[in-house]
């Protein structure tokens, strides 16, 4: 749990993953024969190099956030979203701006007393929000610049029943799974080369995965991401119960035979699982990976996550363990493409 918290705490929005990239590389290096960072910042770790069958495990490294758009004459900062940010979460949110220094700020909004009658019922638009750093224009312009990254501040909170809530479980959970899989597989005899890819810029268009898959050219890929969890705002038609285990995806984006093998592994090893139907775009890096060069067969495994893309994302640890277990058992059992 602490390792996961550590990863979620790290600050790295899409396009600004260089610092967290170095950290993840060091985690990979504890278990891998080789590690590298490519042109866009993807982190690659290779285990068992040279076997004639290559499996790629992939999870995206970046988180959603904001970016400084402009600084007005009073020092208030306007911003744009990086990745899919729901403006509804922003009012009163605490953030950090990464300029020459790491500056704390609050996303402000109009006080209720001063709002028109209908105004208070509409969600704020990003254009009407601003960040207050407590500095005036000259002071803040010396510290930060247009284009600087802004991350959400978030505590890590333990809830009941083995659940945790923090920012960026989407998809630091996936990176955590990569590290844990490498750790476990290192000590096994397996007949595949395993390449872990922690991709950049998924939240802005699956960009890192596209070039990573092109370079690595695996025989097949297991993509790890999050899916929606049932909550008061997400019905069981739209998501999966926390605690229901690993969600294995089916649909045109995923290879039917490989996916069935994955399902069999969960079934035969008493690992709790559900089936997730993706009728087209799976909403993950698997969409880009599947059509790389001559094609890469994909499997997609996810953990249910409540309140996705907020700073209070909530997950159940046992679901994450189910993902790790399924992947490792699949590979240890000689999961062949």
């Amino acid at each position: 749990m602490n390792k996961l918290f550590e990863l979620c705490k790290k600050e790295g929005i899409s396009g600004f993953e260089f610092e967290i990239g170095k950290y993840v590389r060091s985690l990979f290096a504890e278990h891998c024969d080789e590690t590298e960072i490519d042109a866009l910042g993807n982190v690659i770790g290779i285990l068992n190099k040279g076997k004639n069958h290559k499996i790629m495990l992939e999870a995206h490294l970046d988180e959603i956030g904001l970016m400084v758009k402009n600084i007005d004459d009073n020092g208030f900062i306007s911003f744009v979203e990086i990745g899919g940010v729901d403006a509804a979460i922003l009012p009163s949110l605490e953030v950090y701006i990464h300029g020459k220094e790491r500056i704390f700020g609050v996303i402000g909004a109009k006080p209720p007393h001063l709002q028109e009658k209908d105004e208070s019922e509409k969600i704020y638009k990003i254009d009407n929000l601003f960040i207050d750093t407590g500095y005036n224009a000259d002071e803040i312009k010396a510290l930060i610049n247009i284009g600087d990254a802004i991350t959400f501040s978030a505590k890590s909170t333990q809830l009941m029943g083995g659940k945790i809530a923090t920012k960026s479980i989407d998809n630091r959970m996936g990176v955590y799974v990569l590290v844990e899989c490498l750790k476990r597989l290192k000590n096994q005899t397996i007949n595949s080369e395993v390449v872990a890819l922690a991709s950049v810029q998924e939240e802005v268009g699956c960009r890192g995965a596209k070039v990573g898959a092109y370079k690595i050219e695996p025989d097949c890929a297991i993509v790890i991401d999050v899916t929606h969890g049932v909550s008061p705002y997400t019905t069981s038609n739209e998501g999966f119960e926390l605690g229901s285990g690993v969600a294995i995806a089916v649909g045109p984006n995923l290879h039917p035979d490989l996916t069935q093998k994955m399902i069999d592994v969960a079934e035969n090893n008493n690992i709790p699982y559900t089936i997730e139907v993706c009728a087209g775009h799976s909403g993950t890096d698997a969409w880009q990976i599947q059509i790389s060069k001559k094609g890469i067969n994909c499997i997609l495994v996810s953990t249910p996550l409540r309140y996705m893309h907020t700073s209070v994302e909530t997950v159940q640890m046992s679901d994450i363990d189910a993902v790790i277990n399924t992947i490792c058992t699949f590979i240890e059992g000689g999961g062949v493409c």
């Binding site: 866009l40 970016m67 758009k69 979203e81 070039v211």
Partner: protein, 328 residues
Amino acid sequence: MELLKKLTNVIAPSGNEKPVRDIIIDEVKQYADAITVDTLGNLIVRKKGNGKKIMLSSHMDEVGIIATVIDDKGFIRFSNIGAVNKKALQYSKVKFANDIVGIVVDEPIESTDKSTNFNKMYVDTICDCKVNSLNTISIGDIATFAPNFDISGDLISSKALDNRAGCYVLIETLKAISKTENDLYFVFTVQEELGLRGAKTSTFTLQPDYAIVVDTTPCDDVPSGGKSSLKLGNGPAIKIKDGSIMCHPFIKNLLLNKAESLKIKPQYEVLDKGNTDAGAIHTTGVGVITGAISIPLRYNHTACEMASKTDIENSIKILTKVCEDLLV
């Protein structure tokens, strides 16, 4: 700016870039070591060197319209090529590749339809031989806003500054470079306005180490404008991001260093939506370290786009220095 005027005066929307390509080849041939045109029509001009492979890129195409149906009275129905501004078309003069001029009208005349469906619009051509003609307009014929280059002081207004201004910057940079050890590829791409298409295939062929795109970008320093920080005449903009790319810090810093050494104060571009060739380039193949210089532009995709002469000239200076200094 005569060359820029010449570049904007041709009719060359996406898929029909030959007139621009011909002008460029003519301008650069004495400065180039190799000139190739690829399958889709991208123009690749190489200045050989032993150093790193650097791709400098601007798109040749502009937005426009394509004739779909010509009725028996000679009125022309059309579809859009790229995201041409529908409001800007209303009552505008357009010119076809065969020099016929027409006026675009929305039916009904008082239409407030905000959709981007061009279905209810038509072109009324100023042509004696409209009906029963053999030589006028047929399906597939293309047109753009009629040429209208004007310059006064620092301000230039014309159709197609997006992105003939970028092409102009590339051409002048190529001419200005004294010597370099970098292996330079000046790539004039096709079909950017249809979805960054030429950039994909040309980058695949080159697989450069670095890429810098020169394109225009909207600036809102007008009464009806938004909250962008960009102002016309305040300098070329170093692109931080747009809808298709998070620019690589290496290129951002490189451009900043060169600008500072030339005592040019750049602006910074953070564009929420809107895509450029840089988006296609950086994710091609194994990935390319990519960034961009943007020329601030008012009234994109209309008949009269507006740019600053100094912004364009300073872009040339920065790019020239990037090309001349050895890149490691």
